[in-house]
Symmetry: D2
Subunit: 142 residues, 4 copies
């Protein structure tokens, strides 16, 4: 389980304020979440191939410090809740100096290719078990 994702801010992600545009934090969160999911054996590309689409139910970001071009950002992901039908992640993005750049959360559900909701437990017990375990490990962390 690797729940720390590191990346640098790209030039094209800045806006004319000279800082990373606030919509991109939502994209950074996605990168971090998919990295984490891959690390626990829940690769999003493989899950989609198996027919599991994972859309966002909501997304929230709170901006504390601007991220600037070429800043290294370290994002800690936590799977706060998982019940087979929905899951919620929280994110903390920290700059190299240790200041929090942003915090946030996203909620997700699982749908089939027809966009109808599904629960993982019966149809995909393997993915269910992995996410369940990750949620428990997250809860056990300090």
């Amino acid at each position: 389980m690797d729940n720390i994702y590191i990346r640098k801010a790209n030039y094209y992600e800045t806006d004319q304020m000279g800082i990373v545009h606030h919509s991109n934090h939502i994209r950074y969160f996605e990168e971090a979440r998919l990295y984490f999911m891959h690390s626990i054996g829940c690769d999003a590309a493989e899950m989609e191939q198996a027919g599991i689409i994972i859309p966002n139910v909501d997304a929230y970001a709170k901006y504390e410090k601007p991220i600037r071009f070429s800043d290294e950002v370290r994002i800690t992901v936590r799977l706060e809740k998982f019940n087979g039908a929905t899951m919620r992640y929280t994110y903390t993005a920290v700059l190299a100096g240790g200041e929090i750049a942003a915090e946030g959360f996203t909620t997700h559900c699982f749908v089939g290719r027809d966009f109808k909701p599904m629960t993982l437990k019966r149809k995909f017990p393997d993915y269910y078990a992995k996410l369940k375990k990750a949620a428990e490990e997250t809860a056990a962390q300090p």
Copy 2:
């Protein structure tokens, strides 16, 4: 005061789920907010020229129905709170058929070119008055 902003979803805004990627709703909200602000005499380009930068403090979106390529989206903006130091907008994005695609809010503060917080009231009474009036008109709406 024009608080209804209409636009079509672009092809490049979709992702491999076949729907508009959830980060783009945050960008649609920005478009709608800046359109509204322009309509009340608070043009963001002019305000920046005058030294008023308006970063996001936070942003939230709740996704109800997917937006698909070429869907027309009608976004209603409301300036829910304004006190000269911060302001909060809410957004409702509706599809052509009348279903709500997404709802959300964003909070903003005002900073100078040095990114230090400022209040509009003393230094920019004209912009203060316009935003104050718009917030009152929003509150008076049904």
Copy 3:
């Protein structure tokens, strides 16, 4: 046939140079192309539904004048070549004052859902005829 597409530059499309990031011109070209195609009865959403995917073979943009936030950009699209297997568009993006902001071209092919090349003529004679006619009309323009 409507080959002039108008739109305003969005805040989130700028970068820290204070101008629209050069990758976005490629997106503007796409918007203009799909608008034009829709106007001649070749709606990309409908074509995809029918199994015609239209990827880019290449894309080029030459940047003459910066586009700034809230600038109105008027893009003229011309279908320069079409032979049923590939098509090439050219674009001229003009600012409100009449200066050319950018010029460019894109080449496209037609593929099925399996990403294998196809020609429109036999399988989709209706779309073939419409694009053929548009290419001829474009050629006849001054």
Copy 4:
């Protein structure tokens, strides 16, 4: 001098074709170019701080193979031409299996904060020397 830049394709970079949208290749090229420039002591953030803005004069991409979500892409950058007033880079993006995904080039000039062209040689001899040397090393490569 490190002219090989590696990164993975992000989910939000795909479109409803199920592949990375063609505008993003232009962004990948920028990432690769800025990575290379940093490696030769020409950090774009530092150069901007010193008053050197480096806009695009043009950009071209040819798409050979689709890039899909989570594909690792390896981009080789070559500084083909540099004369103090303009520079041209070429790019080759290769997938993990060895197939070329895309090739392209970009041309750049140097401008001051007022967007007026400048030549590096007299005002910034240090940056001039580094880019000159990199162009020569590139030319000497097989």
